[in-house]
């Protein structure tokens, strides 16, 4: 009897949760569906069944050269994340394993740089970029994104490294492991999952960054954020094409996001919620 009731309750919750979840997901779903329609179909009224044409995808490539901003996005987001990791790993490592009195202050200070509103430094950044020729270059955007994500990378790595027990290193040393063995066989396997989550989350953040990437780029280095933003001035019938471009822009990150959602909470709250 109790069991029957709880199954009924479970079915009730299932229906409610799925209904809400589908409503929240609907704009994304409808974008994917619309991308598979022809332009006249896309504005012909509500329909969840597309004709399945891929013409919008071809149109986005042939008319707007989609591939170029896509490559820019890949280079800028992956590049900035890798550089940030190379800079951050030693810092996070030393703060986690040989903390000093000032470690906490340094960490808080790093976080505070993240609070600076981008518009507060828009003017000088624009002028610096203009005068150094970095405006509208992939290198320039990579540098900016490295800097704005560096504090998060340090913090995330720090929260992961802190959980590696220091005693294990000592035990390995007592067992006669050389420094090389210690790093390769003991430390690396324990550090890799944390580094991987950090990598994933920061590629996502860099990919979606929509202030600097739009303002400091033009035709040449524009990543997908700027490319999609350029669709805001309508050019006739473009619903299906906009949907195709949007689907292509969010698909890779959506899939990465699904894989990293468990680490997301920790990464974005700087370890305050686990």
């Amino acid at each position: 009897m109790a069991r029957a009731v709880s199954t009924r309750r479970k079915i009730g919750f299932t229906i409610a949760a799925w209904a809400v979840a589908l409503m929240i997901f609907f704009p994304i779903l409808y974008t994917i569906i619309t991308s598979l329609k022809t332009e006249p179909e896309a504005i012909a009224g509500f329909s969840l069944i597309p004709s399945g044409t891929l013409e919008s995808y071809f149109a986005v490539q042939s008319q707007n050269d989609y591939f170029k901003p896509f490559i820019n996005s890949v280079i800028i987001s992956v590049g900035s994340t890798l550089i940030a990791l190379v800079i951050a790993i030693p810092s996070a490592w030393s703060m986690a394993f040989s903390p000093t009195k000032r470690t906490k202050d340094v960490l808080m200070w790093m976080l505070s740089t993240k609070m600076m509103p981008a518009v507060g430094v828009l003017v000088p950044m624009y002028l610096i970029f203009r005068d150094t020729g970095l405006l509208d270059t992939r290198l320039g955007l990579t540098i900016v994104l490295t800097l704005i994500n560096l504090p998060i990378v340090v913090w995330m790595l720090y929260t992961y490294f802190r959980e590696i027990p220091g005693e294990i290193l000592e035990a390995a040393r007592m067992d006669g492991a050389s420094l090389f063995n210690e790093i390769v066989h003991v430390l690396t396997p324990m550090a890799v999952p944390g580094i991987a989550s950090t990598l994933l989350l920061n590629i996502i953040l860099a990919w979606n960054e929509s202030f600097w990437s739009i303002r400091l780029s033009a035709a040449n280095a524009a990543p997908l954020t700027a490319f999609i933003a350029s669709f805001s001035s309508p050019q006739g019938l473009f619903w299906a094409k906009l949907s195709a471009a949007s689907t292509l822009a969010i698909a890779p990150i959506l899939i990465m996001g699904w894989f990293s959602q468990r680490q997301l909470v920790r990464g974005l709250t700087f370890g305050a919620v686990k």
Binding site: P27, W93, M125, L150, W207, L242, S246, W258
Partner: protein, 290 residues
């Protein structure tokens, strides 16, 4: 325990990030501060002079400034209310036993991964468009006149779009916090005869207090700087109806070419953000001590 050698090594390892972040923090900010006291217009770059507090006076007395502060607050508070209330409700729903919980979670979290320009354009054109949007189709099917969202409710439209992007974030964090609530405590409360409202008010909500604080503070930092959503939907209009502080500074700087005025605005934005930041740092800092 740490020898002098390891301490030196530790400092050496810290140096690159500390130096880079220090430069990143100091140089542009110092330049903004400097420009904010100068008469400097990009259309007339040869004619730069000391302006005293003129730029601040100019920016603060601009009627658009008060409007932009109001719009900034409306966006921040509107989105916070929707995401926190909705997030608590949604997290509690997702915490219940159900079939396909993993997939539901993935569907709910997805909007967070959608880049702002895509989110804004999809909502503007495919959901809220008065002629071809889904909401218009629904209105027409029940015999109502479709609402022209961006013409009549521009600020509310922006709030809806931004709330859609942040609701998943709030939900995910609150769900994580909810899952750490002790099952036995819940059962004990139930056995003592506490009804749902009592359990929610005296057990769940206090347990979530910390997570809610973190959600509010982190979202505030990002919501103060909402930019791309405004750029691709209303471009700050009609008039200044959807211009927030970030967008006003952008307008002054890159559309008005007024380096001095925009810098003064930038300094004001930094001060406002810092007030929020102090509270966030306290909340995060507390956790670090544990």
């Amino acid at each position: 325990m740490a020898t002098r050698q390891t301490r030196t090594l530790a400092r050496f390892m810290m140096a690159p990030s500390v130096i880079l972040l220090f430069i990143w923090m100091i140089v542009p900010l110092a330049m903004t501060l400097w420009f904010s006291f100068q008469n400097y217009n990009l259309l007339n770059p040869g004619n730069v002079s000391f302006a005293g507090l003129f730029n601040y006076k100019f920016f603060l007395t601009d009627p658009a400034f008060l409007q932009s502060i109001w719009n900034t607050l409306a966006i921040v508070i509107g989105v916070l209310v929707i995401t926190v209330v909705g997030g608590v409700a949604l997290a509690m729903l997702l915490d219940q036993p159900m079939f396909g919980q993993g997939i539901v979670r993935i569907l709910v979290i997805s909007p967070f991964f959608v880049m702002p320009p895509v989110a804004a354009l999809v909502w503007k054109n495919m959901i809220m468009h008065p002629g071809y949007g889904v909401l218009a189709d629904i209105s027409k099917s029940v015999g109502l006149k479709p609402i022209d969202w961006f013409a009549h409710y521009p600020l509310i439209s922006i709030v809806i779009i931004v709330a859609w992007q942040w609701l998943p974030f709030a939900t995910l964090i609150l769900l994580t916090a909810l899952q750490s609530l002790d099952e036995e405590q819940k059962e004990a409360a139930e056995m003592d005869g506490a009804n749902f409202a009592n359990r929610f008010w005296y057990l769940t909500l206090p347990h979530l207090a910390r997570a809610i604080t973190v959600v509010i503070l982190i979202q505030t930092i990002f919501l103060l700087g909402v930019y791309a959503e405004i750029l691709v939907t209303t471009n700050g209009g009609p008039g200044y109806a959807t211009t927030n502080l970030a967008f006003l500074i952008y307008r002054t700087a890159l559309l008005g070419y007024d380096v001095g005025g925009a810098s003064a605005g930038g300094v004001i934005a930094v001060i406002l953000a810092n007030i929020v930041a102090i509270f966030l740092m306290r909340a995060v800092g507390k956790n670090l001590d544990k």
